[in-house]
Symmetry: C2
Subunit: 403 residues, 2 copies
């Protein structure tokens, strides 16, 4: 396997560090809009399978396809922000290679009723091209990070091995991370966090289909495991709600993010002022996207690992009827302690947890354990080899009976 890794930011460089310990691929070529960052990521791992292809515009499908050909890659690993999903997805299709991403094509709200009906949903543009991938016999594995990604693997595991009927698949994400020396320092890309949190959250109900709500709806306090404790969670637009119902039978699918009150207040304020906007404003003669300015004001989350303490938890709360016909609730989860990920890999917990999952997935694809054609979510494939291999990577998952 020869992998073109597009994106050498926090998640991309953690992907490289994790992959470097595994033998399943022959070459990993790194590229980024910042060529120096690609060079640094390729050389940091000290592994001669790694090289840099320098700078590329991820929005230029032809340029990316040319890199795939030049480096004879058979996998395009997308580790850039979701604005670039479609050009990279098209480049991979055109290049005849396997495609993996960790976030799906962006949504567009319903023009009249954004807070009750869906418009263009997350991934719609990708699934619209599923026939072309099937016809070409190519695999696009979409939403293959931690959330979406591992959470979807958990859904498949619950359906196959734990439940006879599922009432609700409820992704619940929470952390107790703190960053020393900063009033406010998000541990994940603020661009993506704004996109997720300010778009109208989408909910799936079997009887009703997909629908939306106002942002930050249905607040609930969820108790996270391994000492993280209670965190206030709210509905957020997320890929799992769109992916899981395609392959797993459930009465309801939700995603709630443990943002905490302070973070929610900041996001609401940014939205009030219009600083979440991505279309440019003119400031003293120069054009800038306000959301890019927000990102530029904050520290790079990938560089905060050595000032962070705490754990991050991704998981799926499943309610329904067990295999024995009795009511059952479980919380399937994966916790990463920042202290561990920094010591072991030099990458902070949130980006490490995102990056490990596509490495595991690609190892299964390289081995032929995971195979398919078309546009598939993680829940389309067998969960057990994935969960076993994740444990073999030194990062086990857990299950809490009773939800």
């Amino acid at each position: 396997m020869r992998i073109l890794l597009v994106g050498a930011g926090g998640v991309g460089s953690a992907f490289a560090a994790i992959a470097a310990r595994r033998g399943f691929f022959e070459a990993l070529v790194v590229t980024d809009y910042d060529g120096a960052r690609a060079d640094a990521t390729a050389s940091a791992v000290g592994d001669d399978r790694f090289s840099s292809a320098g700078s590329v515009d991820a929005g230029d499908a032809d340029a990316v396809a040319a890199l795939l050909a030049e480096h004879r890659c058979d996998v395009l690993m997308n580790a850039v922000d979701p604005r670039f999903v479609m050009p990279l997805f098209r480049a991979a299709l055109a290049g005849g290679v396997t495609y993996v991403d960790m976030a799906m094509s962006l949504s567009h709200p319903h023009p009249e009723r954004p807070h009750s009906e869906t418009g263009v949903k997350l991934g719609d543009e990708q699934f619209a091209m599923a026939g072309e991938w099937e016809a070409a016999g190519q695999l696009a594995l979409v939403g293959m990070g931690v959330e979406p990604g591992l959470s979807d693997v958990f859904a498949r595991y619950a359906a196959d091995h734990l439940f006879s009927a599922i009432d609700e698949l409820g992704v619940r994400d929470g952390a107790n991370l703190e960053v020393e020396g900063y009033d406010f320092a998000p541990s994940f890309s603020i661009w993506t966090t704004i996109e997720e949190c300010l778009n109208p959250p989408v909910v799936y109900e079997k009887a009703r289909g997909f629908f939306t709500t106002p942002p930050f709806s249905e607040p609930e306090v969820f108790e996270f495991p391994e000492g993280i404790g209670p965190v206030e969670c709210v509905n957020v637009e997320h890929e799992e709600v769109l992916l899981m119902p395609r392959w797993v039978d459930a009465g309801r699918v939700t995603f709630k993010y443990g943002l905490g009150t302070e973070f929610i207040d900041v996001l609401k304020a940014l939205h009030k002022v219009g600083l979440d906007r991505t279309d440019p404003v003119t400031v003293k003669g120069v054009q800038v996207s306000p959301r890019d300015v927000v990102a530029a004001c904050l520290p790079d989350p990938a560089r905060l690992g050595d000032r962070m303490t705490g754990k991050t938890c991704a998981g799926l709360w499943v309610t329904g009827t067990g295999k024995d016909g009795e009511p059952r609730q479980v919380y399937l989860y994966h916790v990463v302690d920042n202290e561990w990920s920094m010591r072991e890999y030099g990458h902070q917990a949130v980006v490490w947890q995102t990056a490990v999952n596509p490495v595991v997935a690609l190892e299964l694809v390289a081995a032929g354990t995971w195979a398919g054609a078309g546009v598939l979510g993680p829940e389309a494939l067998d969960s057990v080899p994935f969960l076993d291999l994740l444990t073999e990577y030194g990062s086990p998952w857990g299950m809490r009976e009773g939800g």
Copy 2:
């Protein structure tokens, strides 16, 4: 009197519209960094005493001094944001003319103890040059808007006519303005509001001198008159606290601004993210000041008048001992109804209320009623002719006995 008006934004253009109804000056020359805006302000009033000097950089004292000479002006009226106080103040001194502003030179926080001690205070740079103004026999009338400005006139009035001893001079500013069609639309310059509200508030106590507190300290609900009602007010850095103790004897001087909880939350969030910063950040290769981006995202407050409803109140709450030796409390105030200011002048209430005061002051200077040399605050001069002339302008002030 020949006036050079520097700044044709909201307050500058309201100043022009108010002055146009008065006969005390011979010429008013408008200039702005945006020459077209200066032209528009000069021509909007339809008065041949008005002309435009086109574009100027208010930070270039030599260029401003050259305009003063070219147009034979004897007054420089500063209506730009307080970043430009010092170059304009110097241009007026060099040009031998009278200077009027509505905000004083900026503060710099104490480097080690910003939330308990003052550093460079508002106006310090101006007062440091007072000797030069005195020696030249020239008048610099500083802080001559509504707050500072009319509030300072009220302080002098209270000391001369209502109290034998003053415990506290407490400026209290509140409004019930709403802007239709906007989630969030400040009715005054966001640049200046951020500056005022996020700098450490300054408080004066006779026994202790000047000291600072953390932002948004000492919240209190103040009941505003004429139907505005209760508004939550917090300590804010403001010129009155520095000006009043220079000429009026009081035990304590405070400024509390009725920001309301929503506005405070937005300001706190902007500060957390660092969007209140004025030093530039690099965003995809271009340099921008985050605070300028915030301003660019919001509607221009000067253009919101026809969507606004409600009233704005500026006032001074005075507590102490009355002339009869009994305890006394009064609230001296000035309310502008946006519906009235839009109908009468086509300018919204907040900018109109700021702009009317320097027009009244200059009319008193033109008549010789107000005269002096040096750097003077409004409380250095007789309050009665000012309050009478303000009433003659159709905008009376009020007094509520009991505070």
